[in-house]
């Protein structure tokens, strides 16, 4: 029963995880496991799909590195339970991504972290949905990723979520009266946020005075876009994009002597970590992000220090997302084991595991504290509930708002 | 027809020239008047007038760079003339391109050989036969009987034409690996295959030794006789020119300096001075 055959229906075809099903499936598997000690055992085959080469390699590699840290921690901590981790490259391409997915299937994957980028994720989640393989994407944020697919969950905010949250935030805090938007026209992530932002902004009465775009081939010079914003008198420029082009926008605005408030989204995180970047350019930039590498809570400190030791660089949000994904899967299985008298994942079919994970993630009693958010919970349609944190960059570091 | 070109009798035509008496009932295949072309500052051809009878063999000679090849390029519409008129078989060629000129009945060979290198000898000839092959793309793609019939006909016709130069046994050879002389002959066959009314040959004997040249001479005559077409040729080999051309035009610096049968041309002092030089070698 694949979800996408009934296109058009808003709700999930299979209302996930009622308490009934929890107990049902729970007792069954518990019986099969013949253990009653509530312990999680066995080796779980976890796959990851993301761009490890090509233009988007940056994001895939970050996730990969983050997951590796988490897997090491998990494997060190829980002796009887191990994660066997297998990352696969998809070059940010739907076709390659499906190939990678099929490779993972041949390998015997039981759960998938990914895919990292949006378009490939839509293609793969449709496949995984009909194969009943659980997916938790660290960063593919479009609504289409989870739409009509009950086994695909997001760890990151969804685009609509981010877009409207940003508009809301700007309006509530009266950050600006006139807003300009620069977005990347050939990018699903960027346009996705832009569209919901615009709709929400209209609702809230924010005055969007300029909307300009750029593309892959013309992502170096932003004079026109910035001039348009400036001429329209925008006092806030909304930048729903990843941090690489954003860093150029900041430096060019600076050169023009244009200093509005720059407002970014989660993709902006990482800008301070660019090697050699003059952080003073980012002074005053506000961004909504669930992760700040210099946060002082134990989880973050632990993750960041391990990451820096392993890779010699500060983790960006994608790395944190990857880290949390592995942790969420682990936490969910542990949760299940504890509540159902144990669980041995060895040789368990992907679809059984998928049912378990869906059950747990949609269980309101289940929540996870991660580096990208406290008390993360998931709604039935696969979206995460966590509080976006408003951050402002001051003196080269994030400061919570 | 006479074998000694000097014996051909000529009659005047209304246009700018003379044609052989035997062709007087047919209209000249080619008439050009006041033809000229400039390249930038250089006037390569000027005041060029000619009339070729339906079965005449004409010659065009002159020093290097006199404009002979340029005249061919004008007649075949490779260059559009700066001035003048070209009538092909009674049709004004104004506004025609090379393809249309060929379809109107003029075919040529090139001074620098231009074969379809990657195609075989037979295929080269079949390109010449192109417009006489009577099927269209759908019958080819669907391989209708019509396709097979017409291809068979074309194949046989190609071999027949190649046989003129005894080249039928080379039909399968890639044209680029032919020796120089054979390439020249293949060009002639290809031009002939288009079914022209007049054939222009640009230095057909270049790179051939005297015996080969003699054979070529016979073949040109044979072509004229079997196909009943006119031939106009450029050549620096005087044995060939004087041997078969009934009427010769001499160009120098783009202008005609002499016209007439081989005997008069050979003895024209202007031609001797500009072109032939002292005739010691012969």
């Amino acid at each position: 029963t694949s979800g996408n055959d009934t296109a058009g229906t808003e709700n999930k075809p299979e209302p996930a995880a009622t308490t009934e099903t929890t107990t049902d499936a729970g007792t069954e598997t518990a019986d099969a496991a013949t253990e009653g000690d509530g312990v999680l055992t066995g080796t779980l085959k976890v796959g990851m799909i993301g761009p490890l080469t090509g233009g988007a390699a940056l994001y895939g590699n970050a996730v990969d590195n983050g997951v590796k840290i988490a897997v090491d921690e998990i494997n060190a901590e829980a002796g009887s339970f191990q994660m066997d981790y297998n990352p696969q490259d998809d070059e940010h391409d739907a076709e390659k991504s499906v190939n990678a997915y099929n490779q993972l299937k041949d390998w015997g994957v039981q759960a998938i972290i990914g895919t990292v980028t949006t378009t490939p994720c839509i293609a793969v989640s449709a496949e995984a949905n009909s194969d009943r393989i659980f997916m938790l994407t660290p960063s593919a944020s479009a609504a289409d990723v989870t739409a009509n697919k009950d086994q695909t969950y997001q760890l990151c905010f969804s685009d609509p979520n981010q877009g409207s949250a940003s508009a809301q935030y700007i309006s509530e805090n009266s950050l600006a009266t006139k807003v300009a938007i620069i977005y990347k026209n050939d990018d699903a992530y960027s346009t996705g946020i832009y569209q919901t932002f615009k709709t929400k902004a209209a609702e809230l009465g924010l005055d969007v005075v300029s909307e300009t775009t750029f593309m892959d081939g013309s992502d170096t010079d932003f004079t026109v876009q910035l001039t348009a914003a400036k001429d329209a008198g925008a006092d806030l420029v909304f930048l729903p994009m990843y941090y690489t082009p954003a860093s150029l926008i900041l430096s060019q605005a600076n050169a023009m002597g244009y200093a509005p408030t720059f407002f970014g989204v989660d993709g902006m995180d990482g800008i301070l970590g660019i090697e050699g970047f003059d952080t003073s350019l980012a002074e005053g930039v506000i961004l909504l992000t669930p992760f700040a590498a210099d946060a002082t809570d134990d989880l973050t400190v632990n993750f960041v220090s391990k990451f820096e030791a392993a890779y010699g660089e500060t983790p960006i949000q994608f790395a944190a997302d990857g880290y949390d994904c592995a942790k969420v899967i682990y936490a969910a299985l542990k949760f299940y084991a504890e509540n159902n008298g144990g669980l041995n994942v060895d040789g368990m079919s992907a679809s059984d595991l998928c049912d378990i994970l869906i059950q747990v993630l949609s269980n309101p009693a289940f929540s996870v504290d991660g580096v990208t958010g406290e008390q993360m919970q998931w709604s039935a349609n696969g979206e995460v509930n966590k509080a976006p944190k408003g951050m402002v960059i001051q003196n080269g570091v994030y400061v919570g708002l | 027809m006479s074998s000694n070109p000097n014996d051909t009798k000529y009659v005047a035509v209304p246009g700018p020239g003379m044609i052989p008496e035997r062709d007087k009932d047919k209209r000249p295949v080619l008439e050009a008047s006041h033809l000229g072309i400039d390249f930038g500052g250089l006037t390569a051809v000027d005041e060029f007038n000619i009339a070729i009878g339906a079965t005449e063999i004409g010659g065009l000679i002159g020093p290097n760079g006199a404009g002979k090849t340029t005249v061919f390029n004008l007649l075949t519409k490779v260059y559009q003339p700066t001035r003048g008129v070209i009538m092909l078989d009674g049709k004004d060629t104004h506004g025609m391109n090379t393809t249309q000129a060929n379809q109107a009945g003029i075919a040529r060979t090139f001074q620098n050989i231009r074969l379809f290198d990657k195609l075989t000898v037979e295929e080269n000839v079949k390109i010449g036969l192109h417009s006489s092959i009577g099927y269209h793309l759908p019958s080819a793609v669907l391989r209708l009987p019509r396709y097979w019939r017409e291809e068979k006909k074309a194949h046989e016709r190609a071999l027949e034409l190649l046989d003129i130069f005894d080249m039928a046994d080379m039909a399968d050879v890639r044209s680029s690996s032919l020796p120089y002389g054979a390439q020249r002959r293949l060009e002639i066959v290809r031009a002939l295959a288009t079914g022209p009314k007049i054939l222009l040959l640009d230095e057909p004997a270049a790179g051939m030794n005297p015996s080969e040249t003699e054979e070529l001479m016979n073949n040109i005559r044979k072509i004229r006789d079997t196909f009943n077409i006119a031939v106009l040729l450029i050549e620096h080999d005087m044995n060939l020119v004087m041997g078969i051309c009934e009427n010769i035009i001499v160009l120098n610096f783009g202008k005609i300096i002499a016209k007439g049968n081989p005997k008069t041309i050979q003895n024209d002092p202007k031609v001797i001075e500009a072109y032939l030089g002292s005739q010691d070698g012969e």
């Binding site: 080469t53 090509g54 233009g55 390699a57 940056l58 895939g60 590699n61 026209n185 300009t212 775009t213 750029f214 593309m215 892959d216 081939g217 013309s218 992502d219 170096t220 010079d221 004079t223 026109v224 876009q225 001039t227 348009a228 690489t244 860093s247 150029l248 430096s251 050169a255 023009m256 002597g257 970590g273 660019i274 090697e275 050699g276 970047f277 003059d278 660089e313 | 090849t69 390029n73 490779v78 090139f110 620098n112």
Partner: protein
């Protein structure tokens, strides 16, 4: 308006300087060296490493980058292109694409996918501010000034080199007929190596200037500007050195004007459509010589 013109020229001058290298290699080796953009990227990284990691002074870092690229160009030519000397130009084109993948993926392994912020290496020249006291002062950045100056110098130097020097003429002879060139006593392999050495050395300069103007450096940094510069070279008439310069600048201006006055969404489509129109009117590009093929 003036503002857009200037940003167009800034962008265009970067295209121009890349296009010069493209055209140089194309003009002589008669090959579209699609790896050119990636050599630019390597040039950027080399200068970055020398300047940032080794702390070398700017001129030394640029020289180092040029040296690395020149050697790289020669090595690539020897290993990848020379064995294909008698192959079709398409075979060489595909090999160049292979080289491009190779360089990008090597860079990915060596320098990782994280972007580096490239320091402005040319700020020894002050930027010019027009209309300082008006509402809209217009800045011409140091990178732009240097890029324009460098591309003009390179254009003149290359024109003189290929047109006047013995080596330059030999290069043109080689590009036309390698066999006949050998009959003149010209060492064809050496000549082509020199061509690649020059082209790659120019790529290093282009890399430094590209990254100084638009300071993010990633393994894929060179590929899109490479394609744009190739377009510019064609616009100007590929093989023509002043054409590359003109094509580059025009393309930059066109791109900016299309963005400013028509649509930022469709600017690429507009730029490429304009290119098609230009080629329709002038099939050999703006300054391209008509290939005279005498019949």
């Amino acid at each position: 308006m003036l503002n857009y013109l200037i940003s167009g020229i800034s962008l265009g001058s970067v295209y121009a300087i890349i296009a010069l290298g493209y055209t140089m290699v194309y003009g002589i080796a008669k090959m579209l060296n699609f790896a050119h953009g990636d050599i630019i990227m390597v040039g950027g990284y080399a200068a970055f490493c020398a300047g940032t990691y080794l702390g070398w002074p700017v001129p030394l870092a640029i020289l180092f980058s040029m040296m690395i690229c020149t050697i790289l160009g020669i090595v690539i030519e020897k290993l990848a292109y020379k064995p294909l000397r008698n192959a079709t130009s398409l075979a060489v084109l595909i090999t160049a694409i292979g080289v491009s993948y190779l360089l990008q993926n090597l860079a990915l392994l060596i320098w990782t996918s994280n972007p580096k912020a490239f320091p402005n290496m040319v700020n020894f020249i002050p930027s010019i501010v027009l209309g300082k006291n008006s509402d809209n002062p217009i800045t011409i950045s140091s990178a732009t000034i240097v890029t324009i100056a460098a591309s003009i110098i390179i254009m003149v130097a290359l024109t003189l080199f290929t047109g006047k020097t013995k080596m330059g003429k030999a290069m043109r002879a080689v590009s036309e007929d390698k066999g006949a060139a050998q009959l003149m006593g010209i060492n064809v392999n050496a000549t082509i190596s020199v061509t690649f050495a020059i082209g790659s050395g120019l790529a290093a300069i282009a890399g430094v200037l590209l990254c100084s103007a638009y300071p993010t450096l990633m393994p894929t940094t060179g590929s899109m500007p490479g394609i744009k510069a190739f377009t510019a070279a064609v616009l100007g008439g590929i093989g023509s050195i002043p054409g590359a310069m003109l094509g580059g600048i025009l393309l930059g201006i066109l791109e900016k004007f299309a963005q400013a006055y028509i649509s930022t969404q469709l600017s690429d489509a507009i730029v490429f459509a304009a290119l098609i129109v230009v080629l329709l009117v002038k099939p050999t590009g703006l300054l391209g010589k008509k290939m005279t093929e005498k019949v």
